[in-house]
Symmetry: C2
Subunit: 306 residues, 2 copies
Amino acid sequence: MRTYFDCIPCFLRQTLDAVRALGLDLPLQEGVLRKVLAACSALDLGQSPPVMGQRIHRVIREAAGSADPYAEMKERFNHLALGLYAECRGLVERADDPLETALRLAIAGNVIDAAPKSGLNEEDVRRSMLQALTDPLDGDVKEFSRAVAGSRDLLYLADNAGEIVFDRLLIERIGADKVTVAVKGSPVINDALLADAAVAGLTSIVEVIDNGSDAPGTILEDCCEPFRKRFARADLVLAKGQANYETLSETDRDVFFLLKAKCPLIARDVGCSLGSMVVRRSGRATAAPAPRDRGRTRRLEEVQRR
Amino acid sequence: MRTYFDCIPCFLRQTLDAVRALGLDLPLQEGVLRKVLAACSALDLGQSPPVMGQRIHRVIREAAGSADPYAEMKERFNHLALGLYAECRGLVERADDPLETALRLAIAGNVIDAAPKSGLNEEDVRRSMLQALTDPLDGDVKEFSRAVAGSRDLLYLADNAGEIVFDRLLIERIGADKVTVAVKGSPVINDALLADAAVAGLTSIVEVIDNGSDAPGTILEDCCEPFRKRFARADLVLAKGQANYETLSETDRDVFFLLKAKCPLIARDVGCSLGSMVVRRSGRATAAPAPRDRGRTRRLEEVQRR
């Protein structure tokens, strides 16, 4: 997905929310804002929004004087999710369709996001989990189930710390033996790293690799060679969260995007309503890609023109 | 009022709304955004937000290839307001307190704002006018009445085209003989110019001068010498709209700010709730300025830190 004009005010809003949530002092906040403004003035709009996200968070880490300013938040989110794991696993085991329930809980876990919701508590997440069991799911669960059942070599792209605990529920239903999980190569926002996968108990049941990158989502050119090979080899990719959609929506691989649509532009690009839980297969894998692609191109133009 | 960090995403949001409302083509929109981003990266935060507003709208006019891209919108707003003038004048004449009613209608006229509400129609404005008669008014109307009655040389700083028609109602109640109206020196957004004052019928009842500036609000250093002398000589200034508050809130003149608080930061700076109709006297003229100023300084710091 390209960067829309509307992303620009939002980059600055997010930057400001982040430096405030991290408690940077005012001169540091100002310095970060000025650097992000200068970077945005020369931005390549043909690239996906996480390319700027990567730059913004490099600037923020430098200003914070910390390689991982979200470390404490990630620990808190992991702890919070682990506190709900047993209850959620029970829900999956007792469900009529355990795979669908695990899928719903994994998508609901995507509410665990960075700065703006740093005040998130266990009760908020628990409520979100329970609501996900009955909320409408925008996507074809049967198609998802068939694809997952048919896959022999599945790559699961994780998103945030905390959320990764709920990913485990889905991975256990899919069958850990055929799944590889990928996390980020180094810290960016509250995205999951190898340490978070370990805390979530994933490293002991599946192979977990890192993508070598500090970008939100999956910017393939920025990922390490072993990850790219693994990505190319997978017969199916499950990609969690908005940033993975933004960076991979035009891929030629067979990808299912699993996300909560929290941004109106992404919701529009996906073709879903804001706030919905989404399961979307990448364009190339649909039965009739051509007409859908034409419709999509029109929609993109409308968004930029709006 | 200084420029808050939160103003920066908003400058970009407003820029985008403006270039879209004016129908600039996509490459022009992009060029404007990049120039505004570069200007913001070097912004002096000690200055008031309309300093950037002036720069933004110079960039927009250049890109639009028009000295007054809002000309058509202003004409429409004037026409719309003139269509309501007789009805509003009747309301003032039949009111128990005609000055307060005229004051309320003049403030309500401040809903006539640029780009985001370009779809505003007569019925919207009419509804806003009628509602203003009963909505709470945040300010001391008695103090306002006394100050106006005691003034012999009043300067009225107009805001937008259309709105200026409703200013006429208030000016007529104050007594046109002691009032001078000031408009902008050249086009900026939909701010009123001499031509709009003429269409509103003001030029035939009061002296109307222009301030020599193309900035929103009143940036004194940017205004012409005759206007500055007039401003210094006035025994009372009535200043309409948010931009006049932003640029003059720290003046040592005796100013009443009359506005609808449409921006959360301005509302916070004023100390009123968002959306309210406000009458505020400048700090120097209050009975006990010192404690109020201390409170205000604390509030400002909180806003930047938020």
